[in-house]
Amino acid sequence: MKISSIALAAVALLAAGGACAQSKEQFFPLLVYRTGPYAPNGTPWADGKQDYLKMINARDGGINGVKITYEECETGYATDKGVECYERLKGKGASLFDPQSTGITFALTDKAPADKIPLLTLGYGLAASQDGSIFKWNFPLMGSYWTAADVLIQHIGKREGGLDKLKGKKIALVYHDSPYGKEPIPMLEERSKMHGFELIKIPVTAPGVEQKSAWLQVRQQRPDYVLLWGWGVMNSAALKEAQATGYPRDKMYGVWWSGAEPDVKDVGEGAAGYNALNLNTAGTQPKVIQDIIKFVYDKGQGTGPQAEVGSVLYTRGVVIQALGVEAVRRAQERFGKGKVMTGEQVRWGLENLALDQKRLDALGLSGVIRPISTSCVDHMGSSWVRVQTWDGAKWSFSSDWYQADDQIIKPMVRSAAEKWAGDKKISKRTPEDCQS
């Protein structure tokens, strides 16, 4: 009797445990591109995203006991393929997407609200989606192209000895001719009106291997500064062209997507002096990277080559995934620890992220990023960024921390978001909606 009841209880427990273990899995869809002209930059990013999940599973056994599962889907940076991947992984229980491409983000921005899945677009995506009161499902954490453009102009102004010194100067924007490259233009136009510099827009046809005509324009117009808004092979091609044209590299400033190792490595010495924005540090010193090496690579389970661990884009992938995991953790605090979170719950988590320095230290991200806290209205959380300079062998910081000028950004974001809402016939979220 006793034995049988114990056995029964054990069986029941086992069954319950088994059932729980099966259902208690948080699925992370990974939209990546490891092929095509953007692969040199997409691959470390994808590796970072996946390795972080592996590390959390190995070190912590998941998020409060909820094991993480994941699946990759190759988008090739193409929008139609990205939509297919989204549909494929959505059906497997996705509760958060990082589309890894501005074009795909645009297409998914219409689909996400209907599917109730938030989009995490750290440092990219739609600039206006910073306004959480209209873009309920978009989270351009840590910066948008508008904040990037704004900070670059601030930095150039500082270098010239004051923003008023920009009057009469010529600043060229050499950009990837796609929504990604075009997003910063309204901000630069606004700043150009304010400070009286001339903005020269030089588009480069995607993927940007061929840039002779663009740099011919640079040579003819002799801009005082060149802003580089490239991605993938376009960045290194631009630096080689700048070298061939004789344009001073130290007058070139890239966005944070044009400031990684693959962009400058091939050019080496030729790119010395080139500057770019930096969202996150690189290197293997941070504890989070050390943990990844210890729990993933030392066991031979690394996704990519170990040499790339800790590179700029790898670390960015780690940061993105860490923020995603933290959003799930935050959501669990409210909706039940040790439970699988739905898209709606993760969205709440993203909207109520509060990562102070202490929490970042605990995550092993101290020094990698600055504290970030989001709210219903502000889906960005922080716009702190630094400028880094390539010395021919490595990136090093060459400026203090900057923050985008809210006085300029806020009204622009508001009017763009309102225009979007008008076009799409979306109503603004009510205060009650913010509470939920």
């Binding site: 490891r34 921005t109 219409d110």
Partner: protein
């Protein structure tokens, strides 16, 4: 045994001229339509509808349009992506600029604009032929790409150059759920396929085919090459334009010129060649081959639970897909549609072949 026309006598011209003269074909097509219109929307999962069937239908329509030009009239075109783009952006402009413009009408207007552009770029076909014409239509591709990237008016001054549509509805009925979108595309594709089939069976289709087979001989027997070629460009671009509008409106929702790049033009040309030049059915086969096969190949490792590196899987997909194209072109240069008709011929004699 089952597929045999013995005993099916035609007593008037009408019966002889119908699209499917054999009873079994009529039953077959009725079953296919029944499955497509009733069974699929009721049972298919969302992924199948949204990610496979809708793009398959839309690209079938585009391939159908291109097949009229390349397969029936013999004019090689590499500007299909461009004509799709014109259709999509024109339809978008009608929707965005005129409040309350009906969806169906804006799709058709998109098609009409594509027709105009198509005819304009078809004019060189009166002088140049074959591969040279392909190069001339390539100009359409580059010109249209340039126009939609640079002329801000065409994208309604969108800052990022990407446009989007929302809240599709037809006769007050919202088209939101995957089933509704699928049925909407299916209905349009069915109507266009029927129309195209009838066109190519009629006088104008015969003119196109005469021009394709030998234009000098055709003009000798009184077919005006200019009329025949330009109508082929017009009809083809119209269908392609509507397909482009559907691609933007229904499948992507938000798009940029890259959605209609030169890759799209090549993809459609391959569909037509692999599916079968000069065959309405072939357009569907070709679209299925090019759209569905890579997705299936891509999914295979996951279905069987084999862990494969993402990059390797997508390279393998490319390689297998490429070798299958070569295989099909060697085994049946006339496309999958020819395989289909050979199969039907064999089926007639089965089980007692000579």
């Amino acid at each position: 045994m089952l597929y045999r026309e013995n005993g099916q006598f035609k007593t008037n011209y009408r019966a002889d001229q119908q699209i499917f003269p054999i009873l079994q074909d009529r039953i077959g097509i009725a079953i296919v339509l029944l499955i497509a219109f009733v069974l699929v929307p009721l049972t298919a999962p969302e992924y199948l509808l949204r990610a496979i069937l809708i793009p398959f239908l839309i690209l079938s329509l585009a391939a159908l349009g291109l097949n009229i030009l390349v397969g029936y009239c013999g004019q090689i075109s590499l500007g299909t992506g461009a004509f799709m783009a014109v259709g999509a952006y024109a339809a978008y402009n009608f929707q965005a600029r005129i409040d309350g413009f009906p969806l169906l009408l804006s799709l058709l207007c998109g098609g009409l604009c594509a027709t105009l552009v198509g005819v304009a770029f078809g004019i060189p076909s009166l002088r140049i032929k074959g591969l040279y014409l392909a190069v001339a239509t390539l100009a359409a591709q580059f010109f249209v790409d340039w126009a939609f990237l640079r002329i801000k008016w065409l994208t309604n001054d969108s800052t990022s150059g990407s446009v989007s549509v929302a809240g599709l509805q037809i006769f007050g009925l919202r088209i939101e759920s995957p089933e509704q979108k699928y049925l909407f595309c299916l209905a349009i594709v069915a109507v266009f396929a029927l129309g195209a089939k009838n066109l190519v069976r009629g006088a104008i289709g015969r003119e196109w085919m005469a021009i394709r087979d030998m234009d000098v001989a055709a003009s000798v027997i009184g077919i005006r090459p200019m009329y025949a070629k330009l109508t082929a460009f017009a009809v083809s671009s119209f269908i392609v334009g509507v397909a482009g509008a559907l691609w933007g409106f229904v499948y992507l929702g938000t798009w940029e010129p890259a959605a209609f790049s030169i890759d799209r033009s090549f993809q459609l040309l391959f569909m037509v060649i692999i599916g079968g030049l000069g065959s309405i059915m072939g357009s569907f086969f070709g679209a299925a081959f090019i759209v569905v096969l890579p997705i299936v190949l891509d999914n295979l490792p996951y279905w069987f639970g084999i862990p494969v590196d993402t990059a390797l899987a997508s390279h393998l997909t490319f390689m297998i897909f490429g070798s299958l194209i070569v295989f099909f072109l060697i085994v049946e240069p006339h496309g999958i549609a020819r395989l289909w008709s050979t199969a039907k011929e064999k089926l007639r004699l089965w089980p007692f072949p000579h």
